[in-house]
């Protein structure tokens, strides 16, 4: 028996158990092997369910666990560090036919994954008040567009064509779900400036600004992206919002990259 044979039988319940197994009393080794087959799937499905409580609530445990088992067979974990096991779950859900009638489900799973990611991201101290040199640069039309803005390592933007932020928030407070109109776009900044992971609803322009800054665009290009997303976008308000949330760690000129 090789471990390749053993591994293949672990993941595929239709395969026979690997050859070469035996038991001391002549009992069926297949039953004993099945303990491992069940452990593997159960422990991984449990880990995925722990990271996606709202996704699971929305579809029910039976649906979620059946979907999770198919996902894990398609995308078995590649690392012994299981955190973020659901990184490909949103894409899987988008193509998962039984969930086709639930257009918000993939983005809810993504929001939950971004929360896990934020919780365990590197720590950094948010910049609350820019220093005098930064304020001067922000007011200088020659310098401001070239400024780089480093966001917190935990920061990520969720944009959705559906009201998934409201949906997720409602599940934190037991709000009645009938009050949510799902059919409109929403965005949020997921962030852990200190101990707690925050889900901060953002207007479309500020969401586009944050995403452009995360993508590494200089401030001028990021502001243009935000204006394209929302004609009423105001850069001062957008930056103030990000500063107030603790999303910005550093402003720096292009020639002087952050350490």
């Amino acid at each position: 028996m090789t471990q390749a044979t053993f591994a293949a039988a672990l993941l595929d319940p239709d395969r026979p158990p690997p050859p070469g197994l035996r038991s001391w009393n002549g009992s069926d080794p297949a039953q004993r092997f099945a303990v491992h087959r069940n452990n593997v799937m159960l422990s991984l499905v449990d880990a995925l369910a722990d990271e996606h409580p709202v996704t699971q609530t929305l579809v029910g445990a039976d649906f979620f666990r059946a979907m999770a088992a198919l996902y894990l067979r398609r995308h078995p974990p590649r690392s012994p560090v299981l955190l973020g096991l659901g990184d490909r779950l949103p894409d899987f859900i988008r193509c998962f036919e039984p969930a086709a009638g639930l257009p918000w489900l993939a983005d809810v799973a993504r929001l939950e994954w971004l929360r896990i990611r934020a919780a365990h991201a590197a720590d950094a101290v948010p910049l609350r008040v820019p220093d005098a040199a930064t304020l001067a640069a922000l007011q200088d039309p020659a310098q401001a567009p070239r400024l780089r803005v480093r966001l917190h390592p935990s920061a990520a933007v969720l944009g959705s064509a559906q009201a998934v932020v409201s949906l997720w928030v409602a599940h934190q407070r037991d709000d009645p779900l009938w009050s949510i109109n799902l059919d409109h776009p929403e965005a949020a900044l997921v962030l852990r400036p200190d101990a707690e992971v925050l889900v901060l609803p953002l207007p479309p322009g500020a969401a586009a600004l944050a995403q452009a800054l995360l993508d590494g665009l200089p401030l001028g290009d990021a502001a243009a992206t935000a204006l394209a997303a929302d004609a009423a976008f105001d850069l001062v308000h957008g930056l103030a919002l990000l500063l107030q949330h603790g999303a910005i760690v550093q402003f720096h000129p292009p020639a002087e990259p952050s350490p």
Partner: protein
């Protein structure tokens, strides 16, 4: 080519009872840290860049000696050890300075996939050589001695030519590693393979034990109706395991003993009652030493 005893042991755990630290019990334990002698954390759960787990580790390391317990290295794997994972382990050892580091005699991944289960090995000359190479590699990479944990198994392999205590004794002899003696695993394996746990205990390299695990198990039945024990860490420590602990400590003297409870967590006072029972067993062994 083996390098027995070339790596220094970490400073070692105190001969007290400890617990695996679960988030639900963390605040209660940290409020009265003297109730336990050390705590154990799964290494993989510490492998994050920042956030609440680092904050917890800082509080833990300020309160107790830490036992760092790996569950994902796949020391028994046919695949080469995962270099990135070895680096992560080395970084953890350097940063958090655990008093002991342990891993399992098992495999848990193949072909780049990770199964999150401790899978059994045939005990042959070939697997012995491979396990020894991997243990050497871990000890060299981490710069410290590894405590290797005996497994809880349910299936055996026709290919096996060595028994489990003999296999572990040989790994210990060739690599100089220590033993994390899991008495629940020993009990479970012996029941599942029709062996005598007291004889198996006596055949292990007890001089090398650096930590003891005790735990509970579930009793199911195989296709003939014989008991099939499942090591699930979801019940109080079993009576037979307590008896094995007394026998072990009478032979070795006091050792660090961890109550391993990962599932179906009881309220903290119930867990602490088991800690007190283990501490009493350790004290009894200490008194026995003094009297001798």
């Amino acid at each position: 080519m083996h390098t027995a005893s070339s790596q220094p042991a970490l400073r070692g755990l105190p001969a007290r009872a400890g617990v695996g630290l679960k988030a639900a019990h963390a605040d209660g334990l940290l409020a009265a840290p003297q109730a336990v002698g050390f705590v154990e954390l799964h290494a993989e759960n510490c492998m994050v860049d920042g956030g609440p787990r680092h904050r917890l580790l800082e509080r833990v390391c300020a309160s107790w000696p830490l036992s760092l317990h790996g569950v994902g290295l796949s020391i028994g794997g046919e695949s080469p050890l995962d270099g990135a994972h070895l680096d992560r382990l080395r970084d953890l050892v350097r940063r958090w300075r655990p008093a002991a580091f342990s891993e399992h005699l098992a495999w848990s991944g193949h072909g780049g996939m990770f199964f999150n289960d401790l899978l059994p090995l045939p005990y042959t000359a070939a697997t012995l050589a491979r396990v020894c190479d991997h243990v050497d590699q871990v000890q060299q990479h981490l710069g410290c001695r590894l405590l290797l944990e005996n497994p809880a198994t349910d299936v055996a392999f026709s290919a096996s030519t060595l028994d489990e205590p003999g296999f572990l004794a040989e790994v210990q002899r060739r690599t100089g590693c220590g033993l994390l003696l899991d008495l629940n695993n020993l009990w479970v394996s012996c029941a599942n393979h029709g062996r005598d746990p007291w004889a198996a205990l006596a055949a292990l390299p007890l001089h090398a034990v650096g930590e003891v695990h005790i735990a509970g198990h579930d009793v199911q039945h195989d296709s003939t109706g014989a008991p099939l024990l499942i090591d699930h860490h979801g019940a109080p420590v079993a009576q037979g395991v307590w008896a094995l602990l007394d026998t072990l400590l009478a032979r070795t003297g006091p050792l660090p003993v961890l109550i391993e409870r990962d599932n179906n967590l009881p309220p903290l006072p119930e867990l602490l009652a088991e800690v007190a029972q283990a501490d009493a067993a350790i004290r009894a062994a200490t008194d026995l030493r003094k009297a001798a």
